[in-house]
Amino acid sequence: MSNAQTTELRQIAKRLLEEGKIDLFIGFQEGTLPLRSRPAFVSAEAATADSPATGSPGAGSLIWDSFCATNLAVYLPKYYENQPGRRKKREKPYPKIGVAAKGCDMRSIVALTKERQVQRDSLVVVGVPCRGMIDTRKVEAAVAAKRGSAGDGGSAAAEEILEARETEAGKLEVTTRSFGVLTFDREEVLQDCCLECRYPMPEGADILLPGQARKPGDGGYARVERFMEKSSEQRWEYFSSELSRCIRCNACRQACPTCWCKECFAEQTDLKWIGVGNTPSDAMVFQIIRVFHQAGRCVECDACYRACPMHIDLRLYTKKIVKDVEETFGYLPAFDAEALPPLATFGDEQCDFFITDPDKNEAAEGTG
């Protein structure tokens, strides 16, 4: 894949590494599956050439395309995990890390800075004006629908997609086993979070790649409102049906840049909050708390959704929390490094009707 952003990104990463401005660059390289680019960690010594023998890619293998959906900010706190041979982080300065960031990655970086999980001045953020990332599952579903309309035809193994590539004209060409090449408009198969994204342009990046970001979306609160119109039975039905598939693999938590707790409540044993099995109530409590912990912090990158191997979709729930925090506190985690999330601030003048009596909230406004 060669495009202007890729070319520029490679040059920037190489220069930063060679000039010693960073020790490591985190970007993307080509993946081993169609529709997937995967995180790449380029070290200073591999800056100029791939080093396949050590499994370390060079700056020349970096790419930027529409399959770079992973939120790379997830690696920043975890990078400082205690490693053998590395002294405790307080004794040693943080490594200098260069990282490619879309709008959502940048918002996560700002959020993590506020929560003191990354040191902003030890990062060199290469911002990428985001055109939106392609939703693997939408493409898979579109191909599966094609298969459905062709009766039970097509190949027996349903891994139909062999290859996918973007064209200059903004189309996605997917090579399938049974239906030849299928072409999609990018917009048809973009992730919902990209279609609804209000901040596709990463503000506050240290270096900005060329390119046009997509037009900001409206946040997609209408979908939450539609869901809220359903009866509580219907909503419960949806929630329990999704959670019935949960295998408690923690992929949602691990993929989330905001879930950085060194010890998750789910793993605490001297005071045990929930069970470790896949009993429905445990899976539900885990997810409810995971979602609630995102209040004022979730940047809606949909990492949790993408990561789930069981295709569980709780995006409406995280969005509901985002919406509630914005509407109640006027706060949305974006690029402002000074604004503190509501749960990190509490004043004695603040009313708490929103907890005890949400219906009263409107009436109480202005008097709190």
Partner: protein, 362 residues
């Protein structure tokens, strides 16, 4: 250890697809179904499904879940007494799992069965002893399938009692591999039509073509069926080398790979107490979790993701070879498609399959 070569069948017959449920008249039937939401191309093994699915690559959750369920209650207790929960012994018939999964089941038999130094796991074995497994040979493997590199085959027989092949006209060829399978064919004799030699020869020919296709698509530079220690010999000396840091850099530490792995079998035992009662449960555990092997003191011998991911691969390709005489990977490819960051086990195999270079040894 390769099950490609040693194929001996005891009995065979042709059965109509519609007659499959009849085989389970006295058993709990588990078969592939696309009920509810499952990722395209996959399905799940469901009990008594309304419709048995045939067009799928593999089940999302592996076969192990039936015999080694993710959550299993061992005891219940209250203030007065501890009661053992009886192990379900209803006979099980599994139809339609893939040969990679039956092969993995044979490996789990070696872990949970009496051959493991005489320690038998009653929970697993009770279910296993009363079960019959009918696998469905793969006719159209996925791009991520690499069973042949691990010594398996898309129509492998190991771990199955009967291997089924789809035939034209909504029927299946059944070939018994074990006494148990043979007995099932005999007791349901009226459901089976005779399978002529030319038809079986044709099936074999197709099998060979599929096997070749898998091998060509994913020849990972090793043949663990022929040389089980091929990776071990190269991995062992590199235990503390930099290669592991690079291979594991992108891991985010979830357990999707191990939970969906048909051979991973680590478990945890925990007590769950409520106010007046509680239960002791056994659950799947994953070497990828920070809580894995965490000692009561709080110390954990594996402190970071590099060590945890190294454990996963070393267990599969080195420790298992030492302890069980085979690699604990059947090449089903589930961990590849499930990984949120596309960390691909094939890359790990490939990088060790190559001669270790000087860079590695640094």
């Amino acid at each position: 250890m390769s099950d490609n070569k040693e194929r001996t069948f005891m009995d065979r017959g042709i059965i109509r697809k519609a007659d499959i449920p009849k085989l389970a008249a006295e058993r709990r039937l588990f078969a592939p179904a696309r009920e509810g939401t499952v990722p395209p191309g996959t399905c799940e093994l469901k009990e008594n499904p309304a419709e048995i699915a045939y067009r799928f690559s593999n089940t999302r959750v592996p076969l192990k879940d039936i015999f080694f369920p993710q959550t299993e209650t061992m005891y219940t207790f209250d203030f007065d007494e501890v009661s053992e929960v009886s192990i379900p012994t209803d006979p099980i018939l599994v139809f339609g799992c893939r040969p990679c999964d039956t092969r993995a089941l044979a490996q789990l038999d070696a872990v949970f069965g009496p051959q493991n130094k005489g320690y038998t796991d009653p929970y697993y074995m009770k279910r296993r002893e009363s079960s019959i497994i009918i696998s469905l040979a793969c006719s159209d493997p996925c791009p991520t399938c690499f069973c042949t590199a691990t010594g398996g085959s898309p129509a492998g027989t190991r771990g199955a009692d009967i291997v089924a092949h789809e035939l034209e006209g909504d029927s299946l060829l059944f070939e018994a591999v074990t006494e148990k399978g043979s007995a099932l064919l005999k007791s349901y004799n009226p459901l089976f039509a005779e399978a002529a030699d030319p038809l079986v020869a044709e099936v074999r020919e197709k099998d060979a073509a599929v096997e070749k296709a898998v091998h060509q698509a994913n020849n990972l530079g090793v043949s663990l069926g022929e040389d089980i220690a091929a990776l071990k010999d190269r991995m062992d000396p590199l235990f503390d080398k930099r290669i592991w840091e690079n291979l594991t850099a992108s891991c985010i530490g979830c357990g999707a790979c191990t939970y969906l792995c048909p051979t991973c079998h680590c478990f945890d035992i925990a007590d769950e107490s409520r106010l007046y009662q509680g239960r002791r449960i056994r659950t799947w555990d994953s070497c990828q979790f920070a809580s894995f092997t965490k000692h009561a003191s709080g110390h954990n011998p594996r402190t970071n993701k590099k060590e945890r991911l190294r454990q996963r691969f070393m267990h599969k390709f080195s420790y298992a070879v030492e302890n069980m005489g085979e690699v604990l990977c059947v090449g089903c490819g589930r961990c590849i498609t499930a990984c949120p960051v596309n960390l691909d086990i094939r890359d790990v195999i490939r990088s060790f399959a190559k001669e270790p270079s000087r860079e590695n040894a640094s």
